[in-house]
């Protein structure tokens, strides 16, 4: 009995040791743009959209797991592998696309911060400069461990949404059953787009790049693969656990009272009359926190990817002198995105729209690479996709690719 307990304790310790990368990546998928999308979906479709969340959780878990497995078995990032296996020409296309799409995402996060900060009467310009400054100092000066802890603490703040949802007084029974049993789903064109938007904000090209690089940067050995896979599933669950409350918070208030929501960022103010002051403030603080998380993680994923592309040192543990390109690119992205956000004449809505389309174009390519890599015996050895898992992975990828293409085609038509 004692032996059994110590064994369990040992396992838990190992799990805690590897814990971090997958959860952080998954949480960052709920960046400010993500929160906005969930709020909008909840306000528009009520509990019925929760069914999509269930599918998204599965898809996220499977796709992230492939990334983690590739990273831990090969010791290389997605950027490394694309460059090494597909050559410069294809890489340049993928990386240029990633840079632009990530820039758009960071801008969207800054925009959300801008809108929300006015709710708290924070001076916009100094606040945004402050965020850029603080983010850069933490990334450039802090090592992997400090940064991981900051991200995890930031992830903890998502609890704000749980409180907001509780204050909104939802119909919990209906909300919970809607996750597994589709209820009141009306398959309109709008619902399909809503579902795709929820999918698209959770499963992203940068997320796939980031999880690879971030796992490698943690330097976990391959024998801990099982634990890291477990964490991946946990992270996917946790993310959508919080997404559930975001949707519930707006579904119980705005959807129930049929209040239309123009943009997701305004959700914090809009729920105030129904859920009360505290819920509104927490929702707003949640968006600021999510914005911060998105800005740092997405910029970091660009920096990782390009360090891999050029083959230079790209690690949070590297000193500034060695990681000049890595840290420089991180700062560059922050400054440009913050600058664009501050220009009043720029249509942030359009930027977000085009970013989603570009992500939609990139995703199929990235899933092509992921599937190719995880099925490569020479590369993955015994960790190659098992056949049943492969069907599942291919199936998931096809769902994601169809959804992505749907967005692209729709945006082309609407132009």
């Amino acid at each position: 009995m004692f032996h059994f307990l110590s064994k369990v304790r040992g396992r838990i310790l190992i799990f805690l040791m590897v814990f971090g990368p997958a959860t952080i990546t998954a949480m960052a998928d709920n960046d400010a743009a993500g929160v906005a999308t969930y709020s909008l979906a909840g306000a528009k479709f009520g509990y019925s959209i929760l069914f999509v969340l269930f599918i998204v959780t599965l898809l996220l878990a499977i796709t992230q797991e492939m990334g983690v497995r590739i990273a831990m078995v090969t010791g290389k990032g997605l950027g490394d592998l694309i460059r090494e296996r597909y050559g410069i020409k294809i890489s340049i296309l993928v990386f240029a696309g990633l840079l632009i799409a990530n820039m758009g995402t960071v801008i969207a996060d800054f925009a959300a911060i801008k809108i929300t900060s006015s709710m708290f009467n924070l001076p916009i310009l100094p606040f945004i400069i402050f965020i850029v400054f603080v983010s850069f100092i933490f990334i450039a000066k802090g090592n992997y461990k400090t940064n991981q802890n900051i991200f995890l603490i930031s992830g903890l703040f998502y609890i704000a949404y749980v409180v907001s949802a509780v204050k909104a007084g939802p119909d919990w029974g209906k909300a919970l059953t809607s996750i597994v049993i589709p209820a009141d789903v009306r398959l309109t064109k709008e619902f399909v787009f809503g579902a795709i938007a929820v999918l698209g904000t959770t499963i992203t090209p940068w997320g796939q790049f980031f999880i690879n690089s971030y796992v490698i940067d943690k330097k976990i050995t391959t024998d801990k693969l099982k634990y890291e896979q477990l964490e991946t599933f946990f992270g996917a669950f946790l993310t959508n656990f919080f997404s559930f409350f975001m949707i519930v918070a707006t579904a119980a208030t705005l959807f129930t009272h049929q209040i239309p929501l123009v943009s997701g960022e305004q959700a914090a103010l809009a729920i105030k009359p129904f859920a009360g002051h505290l819920a509104s403030v927490l929702f707003g603080l949640g968006i600021l926190n999510a914005g911060f998380m998105g800005i740092v993680i997405v910029s970091l994923s660009t920096a990782y990817a390009f360090a891999e592309f050029f083959g230079v040192e790209g690690s949070l543990d590297a000193p500034f002198e060695k990681g000049k390109l890595f840290y420089g690119l991180f700062l560059f992205q922050l400054i440009v995105a913050a600058g664009v956000t501050l220009i009043p004449s720029v249509s942030l809505f359009k930027i977000v729209f085009y970013t989603q389309s570009l992500n939609g174009i990139l995703l199929p390519a990235i899933f092509f690479f992921l599937l190719k890599l995880t099925n490569n015996k020479e590369l993955m050895g015994k960790h190659i996709n098992r056949s049943w898992y492969n069907y599942f992975a291919v199936g998931s990828s096809i769902v994601i690719i169809i959804a992505a293409l749907f967005t692209v085609i729709n945006s082309l038509v609407s132009i």
């Binding site: 410069i88 020409k89 890489s91």
Partner: protein
């Protein structure tokens, strides 16, 4: 070209690049189309001789032919009429699969950069000369190199191919999917100034001034001080006063004096006036001694301690004060009036316990020299007593500086 294997690599016309060869049409001498070049196979040894070529034929199958069958490379690749297909052999690797786009790591495992292109020489036979690690390599693969050259000429942008010689790469590691170097990052960055100077002396003065222009000031000054005097003076003239002043200011004072002595007194004065106060006084001091026989070899980089100092204090003082001194052999002991009263070397220092005062172990019977001692006498003394350096004192035994065997030995270098 062979010498300049580390950092500087000027665009070399006769070099072939893999990116330019790849996807070239392959045909026989009598004009029969075989396919396109897909990959090259080489021996992973110290000389990376290219032994075979992989051709992708029209029906998408791969044909491997011996490199000897290649007759001509221009717009397309011409091969022998009756070539025979072959297989990959032992110790053979592929350019595309094993080198191109791979991560380059140094001896310590630091990630440096990626292989952006592979450079190939065709004389006396096809072999891999090295790898291109610069931006130009990326542009070349994208077919944008000539556009870049045109634009950069238009905007007067300077660009150099960055190149790593095959000699820096460990061929045996390539099979593991890594391009591992046999040097460390630091060493790769710092090509020794003397080596570069030697190389520069083989080219003309215009090239020298061009390359010096590209270097950081500090590194440039080290390189200039290693150049032979004839080059130094021409070069510094060519660089203009402003730059010459900067470079001379960064040199070690005794080397700066050597250089300045070659200018006319009027020009010398002009340059000195533009230098900052402390540096100028130091150099003027040395210049004054330069008319004496020992003066030109005088070195001011020495450390003097007091007899009552204890070993621990001296070690601290050495750490603090001698970080920028080239090499430290002896520690001199002077009294309150700066008169030389003793000496000891580093080994003697280390043998003492931390609390021992200097006067307990210093050698009081110091061999000295004077500014007017003939240089060959001084050298003879040094050789006789196995001394690396001698203190130079004035009539009152006040310490002026030191003279090193290496420096004074140069005087006799021509006679050997």
């Amino acid at each position: 070209m062979a010498y300049c294997n580390k950092r500087f690599l000027v665009y070399h016309k006769s070099m072939l690049y893999f990116s330019e060869l790849r996807a070239k049409r392959v045909q026989t001498e009598d004009g029969i189309q075989i396919g396109i070049l897909d990959d090259l196979i080489f021996l992973a040894l110290e000389t990376a001789r290219i032994t075979k070529a992989v051709i992708k034929s029209k029906n998408n199958s791969n044909i491997i032919i011996p490199a000897d069958a290649i007759k001509k490379i221009n717009g397309h690749i011409t091969i022998q009429k009756n070539y025979t297909g072959t297989e990959v052999g032992l110790n053979e690797l592929y350019v595309l699969r094993n080198i191109l786009d791979k991560q380059i790591i140094d001896l310590k495992g630091n990630k440096l950069v990626r292989v952006n292109d592979v450079a190939i020489q065709d004389k006396p036979f096809l072999y891999i000369a090295g790898v291109d690690i610069g931006l130009l390599g990326i542009l070349r693969s994208l077919g944008l190199e000539s556009l870049f050259h045109r634009l950069s000429n238009f905007w007067f942008i300077k660009h150099n191919t960055q190149f790593l010689s095959w000699a820096d790469i460990q061929p045996l590691e390539l099979a593991q999917g890594k391009v591992k170097l046999n040097v460390t990052q630091e060493k790769l960055r710092g090509l020794h100034p003397a080596d570069l100077a030697d190389y520069l002396e083989t080219t003309n003065i215009r090239n020298i001034s061009k390359i010096i222009d590209l270097l950081g000031k500090e590194y440039a000054s080290e390189v200039v001080s290693e150049l032979n005097p004839n080059y130094q003076i021409t070069l510094l003239r060519k660089l203009g006063d402003e730059k010459a002043v900067k470079i001379i200011s960064l040199m070690d004072p005794d080397e700066a004096v050597d250089v300045l002595l070659q200018f006319s007194p009027r020009r010398r004065q002009l340059i000195l006036e533009k230098m900052d106060e402390t540096k100028r006084r130091e150099i003027e001091n040395l210049l004054r001694f330069s008319e004496t026989s020992i003066g030109p070899y005088l070195n001011m980089e020495f450390i003097a301690v007091k007899p009552e100092n204890i070993v621990r204090q001296i070690i601290d003082q050495i750490k603090k004060e001698t970080g920028d001194i080239g090499d430290l052999n002896c520690i001199y002991v002077t009294n309150k009036n700066d008169l030389l009263i003793g000496v000891f070397n580093l080994h003697e220092l280390l043998l003492q316990s931390p609390d021992t005062p200097v006067y307990r172990f210093m050698i009081q019977n110091v061999t000295v020299t004077h500014l007017n001692s003939p240089a060959n006498t001084v050298l003879r003394t040094m050789i006789k007593y196995h001394l690396y350096e001698l203190p130079v004192v004035d009539a009152a035994k006040k310490m002026i500086g030191i003279v090193k065997r290496d420096d004074i030995g140069e005087l006799f270098l021509d006679r050997i």
